[in-house]
């Protein structure tokens, strides 16, 4: 049976507006774990940028700092990470230059300047933003023991010094990035 439209009337067009689906069920429950194992300035950023992006997309995000990555959350070193040309052929400069005294300092200042020009915060402030966005910071038990560090040496917002197995348990079902 078909419905007839009475003469002289028009059928209303579909008026449901097109609305972006921000909170789709498929994105719910998505989890990301990022293992930060490097302590150089250039290698600190990939994890921070991706964590920040994931949080902005509503993804539950955990960062696990291990080995040299500990420098990112150690209060003494977090703002002092360095960039060196040595062993980094992607600078496309002669490697010998990297060994000249003061060159690491110069390269670090240059990189910090380029990052600041893009309005990207320094590492400690970036971690503040990540925690403010709901991100979770975890420290590796073995790295703490090796470096004789305790929670008092780390940022106050590090939620705990945990074992590798604890982290694996904590991030069940998460997508994982090792940096």
């Amino acid at each position: 049976m078909t419905t007839q439209t009475a003469p002289g009337t028009t059928q209303a067009p579909s008026t449901a507006p097109l609305v972006p689906s921000f909170d789709t069920p498929t994105s719910e429950g998505r989890k990301l774990a990022i293992i930060c194992s490097k302590g150089t300035l250039d290698m600190a950023y990939p994890g921070l940028i991706l964590a920040n992006a994931a949080l902005g997309e509503g993804v539950e995000t955990h960062l696990f700092f291990t080995f040299w990555g500990f420098d990112m959350i150690n209060k003494k070193t977090s703002g002092e990470l360095k960039f060196t040309m040595l062993g980094n052929t992607a600078t496309h400069l002669p490697q010998g230059l990297g060994g000249i005294p003061g060159m690491t300092h110069l390269a670090t200042s240059q990189l910090k300047k380029s990052i600041a020009e893009l309005d990207i915060p320094e590492v400690p402030e970036f971690l503040d933003q990540i925690v403010g966005s709901g991100g979770h910071l975890w420290a590796c038990r073995m790295s703490a023991d090796m470096q004789h560090l305790t929670e008092a040496d780390l940022r106050d917002d590090v939620e705990g010094i945990i074992s590798a197995s604890d982290f694996i348990e904590l991030t069940e079902g998460a997508q994982l990035l090792f940096i």
Binding site: L118, D119, S133
Partner: protein
Amino acid sequence: MPTTTIAGHAVEVNDEGFLTRPEQWSDDLGAELARLIGIELTDEHWKLVHFLRDDFARQGETATLRRVSTQSGTPVKSIFHLFPGKPAKKMAYVAGLPKPKGCV
């Protein structure tokens, strides 16, 4: 470009539903866009939405979450509270602007 009708206004949108012509936006429309994504706009929301509008007019691109936070003096945590889930995209949507392009 598809056209959709929101609060009685015919507006041009992209495939996702973001307004493609920022000049078609008004406060009334913004309130309705917010309602459609489940947000009731308070003065705090409006402060951010108007910041985004003004900043877009000056810069020609949508402010990222960090820019909104630092330039408007609103902590990131509060922005997440006001526009939960995907704050940068939700703010841009309500303000009738394209999604922000910047990474941070």
